[in-house]
Symmetry: C2
Subunit: 305 residues, 2 copies
Amino acid sequence: MSEGAFAHVALVGLGLLGSSLAQAIAAHLPDTRVTGTDASPEVRARAAELRLCQILDDPAGAVRGADLVILCVPIGAMAEAAATLRPGLSPDAIVSDVGSSKQTVARAIAEALPGHTVIPAHPVAGTERSGPDAGFASLFHNRWCILTPPEHADAAQVARLAAFWEALGAHVETMDPAHHDLVLAVTSHLPHLIAYTIVGTASDLEEVTRGEVIKYSAGGFRDFTRIAASDPTMWRDVFLSNRDAVLEMLQRFTEDLTALQRAIRWGDGEALFELFSKTRAIRRSIIAEGQDDARPDFGRADHGD
Amino acid sequence: MSEGAFAHVALVGLGLLGSSLAQAIAAHLPDTRVTGTDASPEVRARAAELRLCQILDDPAGAVRGADLVILCVPIGAMAEAAATLRPGLSPDAIVSDVGSSKQTVARAIAEALPGHTVIPAHPVAGTERSGPDAGFASLFHNRWCILTPPEHADAAQVARLAAFWEALGAHVETMDPAHHDLVLAVTSHLPHLIAYTIVGTASDLEEVTRGEVIKYSAGGFRDFTRIAASDPTMWRDVFLSNRDAVLEMLQRFTEDLTALQRAIRWGDGEALFELFSKTRAIRRSIIAEGQDDARPDFGRADHGD
């Protein structure tokens, strides 16, 4: 085990992120002891069946002796999860998390665990699946993990946590929590909000049936249904906790959409063409930086059949 | 060759759709003669290099003797393309197209070719790529092709065209053109409009750099960049030609988005949870009906690396 490596990682919450972490640690850091727990008895039973890690019923017992504790629960459940594990928490442990918004979460965990070292983190990775069966070891490969250490955090502790994520295949960036929340509002939260909305709009029409929406979804709609199939509890909590940044980005989006609406109404083909031309460049960059599949249609399997 | 099959198909326009048609016909209807042309000399040269079909410079020459002519040009170019091929068009030929909006296109082609049989069609299939290199033979496999025959169309001719698309692997549906335009406004046009808008919004921010948008795009944003990389000319024409239906759907979307915005502002977690729960069902149906890949993240290749 290399210097500074964690000997024992405890995972609190065994959904997509927690179960992926268990598998990623087993694959990349086989000498690390991993314990886990979940508030749901069904999830704990399934996690044990899958042999994800050593499963304990009691949160305090699950974190006992761990030098890294990672909270992998929905944002709204962070404070309570932190409070219940507190009796077992070692004074030397680093407490971290995987939440998608960082200011609220950092505050909630710090308040629940006064005197403990808290270094929030957000691996920008996931799929539309949830639950302990959804995890896989390579989820963090070539994805970014953003650490948002508090101002007076110990640099050595931050470096230990960064090395842990790098060992799982991630690239690590540190960021101010407020800036994180603004960046993710545009790259993740607004896209989810819009996807949920359009899928809702399409399913509520009277003139177009749901069957028609499904049949002709290959025209573009189906791309939105993937992220609109994400976990409802997780996403409710994201929007409630990152409210201000999401509303700010939504305001800008709405302004831009209104301008486009006006261009369509008045037949302004030049304005439409200009916008539609500049948006191609961003996809090229995303592919060039390895953040998406270069094949058409994301490389979906339904082409070759 | 089976009864009613076309002996000679002429393709006018050799972009993604035209070049896919050439390859699909070669693969599935090898006895059919295929000729093609394109307004661009570069595209014609490239199509000849790719041996897509017999390429002719002159539209009238390309359609001479064809019993099926398919216009595969952007909607705004349909009228002109129809006018230029007219001198070579056989009086018995069926003229069809692949345009994404049908009322405007049907009118434009019928006006340019008085006395000819016009049966508009729309294969709901495509990728974000364009040009003659983007085509592939299986583009229409298991996708829907919607025919919008005029009221007094000859049923036998409609059946011939339907059989042609079925031979290429598509399912065929016939529909009233106005209803087609409404259905596609929600399953294709609105999704493209929204994707173009959010990608534009994200690239114009001051507080978040373009580099950050690209790095953290795996949080959801990257899903939108695929369709926002689609052909600008084609999409400008779609919005200009299907204006009323697009504006109607956009109005509904905006109302729904405003309701969600209000729920976020007032911390109404129940409203958010309720919407986020009901949108999962649609994705399940789309997958069950074979219109999308069942694997997480569309089965993108970047998981296993």
